[in-house]
Symmetry: C2
Subunit: 622 residues, 2 copies
């Protein structure tokens, strides 16, 4: 039974909670007890007797698997069982015989799990600091695996040594172990993480990294629970916050371990194997209180904000007229003193679309008691039809003149006092706003006002394993050198963002160029530990007029505004940044005779290739 | 005129010497003076007036190029002129106007050089520690360049600070500048190096790195020359050795600078521009003594050793019977005491080929006065024909029995005392020697002798930009996961080699497996500086019998033996190793039911992908 279907979560986003069990060759009983009695959604169960060693097996002996595939239906295997690979295996042992046995067993168990059609198997954590042989073997398996996922179990550990001391032998950061394992396996899409949550947690910055990784499950041992006033299990505030983060990122929870709380009910002395195997009917699953607590945390979560729920499908509708109305009002009041309120201000909306900025302008005029003459310039002939209907419907014929023309080539009959446009992309200047407004400023008076008056792009380094894998799955250069508009979710933002390019309008300077070049240095907080940079989030912030801003840069984003998602610039080869090493990034905006494009690269800690040279993969045509 | 055609050099390997000149718009005169009077082979000459700045040029002005393309023939331009890009350009300046002028000029000059059809242009060195914008611009140019080479000028500088101090600001290693430039340009094949040789040289280890890089030219300034007893220019011993290294690696020499030696001839007071421009006929080129000295160094070189000259084309002929004869003699003497010399020893040559080991065995028998009965087992039916003729020709019919069969499936009529084979590849076990000898040891007596008795493979990390580029040019994964047999030349061996896998024959142990796994740690000497590892050289050493060895591992290679070249294992992404950082490498020999293959990876300083998983790219069929 899912933890509950909450308002704001789609059905596919229900959260599930599993339980880790010991070896049991009676699978139907195991499943019945844990799912029916225990109300868990799935079991994480060993598929092979843990005493098995291939080198001890007699020739032609039958492998000691737990149950045959026939005892459960295929859908039961796939919905309710996650295979747990034998935890004794150690492929990086110094002992060659153990290494050989481990490799044989691992391959046998995965093949068996595949035969059972379970959806995932949990691989035991690497035993030491080195994991290359384990990774080599898993990588071989992954090459031939159909649909099954492999979840590498990783304890959530990071000793918070001083960052400069990272080379000392006592320093442990389990993220590094994961990072080397997945690099050896080339970011394989079917390899993800089962995080073992322990009673103490590393720093918030270091935890944040995991939300950019492909974490499939979080395993919470009963040892990690505290005890509340009534003797029941509960979690520390920091653990609660972490679990809430897992819910938000669709990470499954698994309860593990033996009951560690004496709950005031007779069920607390049930057998270690989680159910009473004396033949009496089990009364209550001894781990049920832990499940109940996790369910409570889930139910207690704030529903998703309205914006999150509705923003899908709104991309093409301008949601920002309110900010524009404010900006236009301020500009009108500045430009036309109260004693000259009867003077007519010429306002041109360039890129009028379906008319939202025309309406915002008229509302600003009404609000301020100023008079407008509006030219609505629009090059899309379909939008022009809509504009004509709107003007007729609203009775604006005397005020609004519709111009069906590309603003760069329009021969305006008079000069404008105010030029209003909304040509911004997620990265500000990525949809030719600079070039279009350069073309339009011809018909703005020398002392005229452009709304927006300026805009700035921002970038921020990300861990984004999922986005990276999506890009990589295309197996070509073009996709690695393209920027993507994305609603970012399973990402870790590694530092605050920094400004990249700024454009100001109007700009009458000599030798004006829309080419830009920026070199940026990011310092990842040292308590984060090492981190993988898969690419950069791009944002913008626009100054519409004076203090009226509009934008999506996270630290100053306009509230309830969902016209723009962020943009993602990937890196062809992700860059691992160690604590104390700055990340140096270069961004270029290049302009050719027929197109505009970005190039980007990392210059430190190591140089990457320059991405998108000459706009070979990604550009906007002029 | 080339520096001379030496015995042992092919014609295409003649070495040339150029001269760097100042700007001169009379190209025919420039060429005539430097080539005819000076005897240089080519000039490195500016193509544009150095006072030119695009921002100062009047609109529609003609660019101040040196000469038009018509003043020389196309073949003169391409054979005798290397373009020198204006040295004032600085694309990473803080001054945006200078940056813009630099980019415009660089693109104009390269376009002009292309129009002239010169073969190469020398780019001035990056001005500071940062070169990203310079690299971005050069990279854009490279994308559209036809055949012309670009040689980035790099001063040969490395301050020999203590390795641990590498992060201090005073530390300079110009290799790092080159490394970041070429990474930004993705190891582009048309980008190479012109090294500026200064009067002091860094450590030998650090110099060694450059021989693995694509160095096209070495520019020696007259300042770097010493003065000999007669007042003539000469070079220090270390410089001489370096120049000899350049000759060996087909690197062109360029003399640069003003004459710095007062040579006891009137020519020493010639004008700074290298020739007398007072209208008098020039008597002697003032840099001629430097050229003469370089020519002297070239002529003085040892001719190439005979082996080097003849080894091409010998790959398929066994060149090692002498070592085998020694090993067989020793084995015969050990096995058959003098008082039993009349006893007959059964010797089987498995993989007899055209018979060299049969002959070596018979010569060993003659040398030691022992009696042999030989079975020559060969599966190639064509070689069997040759064997039959050989036996008949030599009259060996009573001693040698020819068996046309795969040794793994032969049903031998008796057991052998000695089993002789030569199934080794460049990497020892890479041509199925272990599997074949496993199959053959059935018919070896329990106390019998296998020759070879064991063999070991070795690897060694390399800088090998040229090999890497060759592999990369195929643009697919398969070529990056294949090992290549190569006569290695333009490489830098970064550390001594280390042993990888050993096989011993016969091997009667239980549960014998030919799978192997080895983890290796290499320490690059800290005075090398940072270094790029493009892959690994592989070698083998075989113990034929007791102290008789055969092999190609460089530190103990059999002299005058050219049956095997080394093998090259590439890395998909080259790994940059900083001083003090160990390089950890893992190698696997994997065996499946139908094939044998290697997998390899780097685990430190950063994890690479595991190469050739499941033998997907490169394997030997069983």
């Amino acid at each position: 039974m899912p933890l509950g279907e909450k308002a704001g979560f789609e059905k596919s986003q229900s959260r599930y909670c599993g339980v880790e069990t010991e070896f049991n060759d009676d699978f139907p009983q195991l499943l019945n007890f844990n799912l029916s009695t225990g109300s868990f959604d799935f079991v994480v169960a060993p598929l092979m007797n843990p005493t098995y060693r291939p080198s001890l097996l007699e020739k032609d002996g039958v492998l000691p698997f737990a149950a045959s595939d026939l005892v459960l239906s295929p859908s039961q295997w796939s919905s309710h069982v996650v295979g747990k690979i034998s935890s004794w295996i150690d492929l990086d042992s110094e002992d060659e015989a153990l290494r050989m046995d481990s490799e044989t067993t691992l391959k046998q168990e995965i093949a068996w799990a595949n035969h059972l059609s379970v959806q995932a198997c949990i691989l035991p954590p690497p035993k030491g600091a080195s994991c290359a042989n384990y990774a080599r073997c898993v990588n071989q398996i992954l090459q031939g695996l159909n649909n099954m996922q492999l979840w590498l179990r990783i304890p959530l550990v990071k000793t918070d040594d001083d960052a400069m001391d990272a080379s000392s032998t006592s320093f442990i950061d389990s993220w590094e172990l994961w990072n080397s394992f997945r690099l050896l396996c080339e970011h394989h899409g079917q390899l993800s993480i089962a995080l073992d949550i322990l009673s103490s947690l590393p720093s918030v910055n270091s935890l944040g990294r995991w939300f950019g990784e492909t974490v499939a499950a979080a395993i919470i041992n009963t040892d990690s629970f505290l005890t509340n006033g009534r003797g029941y299990p509960c979690l520390s505030k920091r653990h609660q916050k972490l679990i809430t983060g897992f819910f938000n990122h669709s990470i499954q929870i698994v309860i593990s371990g033996k009951p560690a709380h004496s709950i005031p009910r007779p069920s607390s002395d049930l057998a270690a194997n989680n159910f009473d195997n004396n033949g009496e009917s089990p009364q209550r699953h001894s781990l049920r209180p832990y499940l109940d607590y996790v369910g409570f945390l889930f139910q207690r979560m704030d529903p998703l904000p309205e914006q999150e729920r509705f923003e899908l499908g709104y991309r093409d509708f301008l949601q920002s007229p309110l900010q524009y109305q404010r900006a236009i009002s301020k500009a009108l009041l500045d430009r036309v003193p109260d004693d000259k309120a009867s003077a007519t201000t010429v306002l041109m909306v360039v890129g009028a679309g379906r008319g939202p900025l025309v309406r915002a302008s008229l509302q600003a005029a009404e609000e301020t008691g100023r008079k407008l003459k509006i030219y609505a310039v629009e090059k899309n002939p379909n939008a022009v039809v809509t504009l004509h209907s709107l003007v007729k419907l609203e009775g604006w014929e005397d005020i609004v003149t519709i111009i069906s023309c590309d603003m760069r080539f329009w021969d305006a009959p008079e000069e404008a006092d105010i030029l209003v446009s909304e040509l911004l992309g997620s990265f500000g200047d990525n949809e030719l706003s600079p070039e279009c407004l350069d073309g339009a400023q011809r018909f703005l008076k020398q002392d005229g006002i452009s709304i927006p008056s300026s805009y700035t792009s921002f970038i921020q380094p990300l861990t984004a394993a999922k986005l990276y894998n999506d890009v990589k799955s295309h197996k070509d250069l073009v996709h690695f050198e393209t920027a993507y508009v994305v609603k970012m979710h399973n990402i870790a933002r590694l530092t605050p963002s920094q400004p990249v390019f700024t454009f100001t309008h109007p700009d009458y300077s000599n030798k004006k160029s829309n080419q830009r070049y920026k070199r940026l240095q990011f310092e990842i907080p040292s308590d984060t530990g090492s981190a993988m940079v898969h690419g950069f989030a791009g944002y913008f912030d626009a100054e519409l007029y004076k203090d009226v801003h509009l934008g999506i840069e996270p630290s100053m984003a306009t509230p309830n505004m969902f016209s723009w998602f962020a943009i993602f610039f990937p890196l062809r080869t992700p860059v691992c940044v160690k604590p104390g090493s700055p990340l140096e990034v270069h961004f270029w905006r290049c302009c050719g005779s027929s197109k505009v494009w970005y190039e980007w690269c990392v210059a430190s800690p190591n140089s990457s290739a320059i991405h998108n040279s000459n706009g070979r993969s990604y550009w906007v045509g002029l």
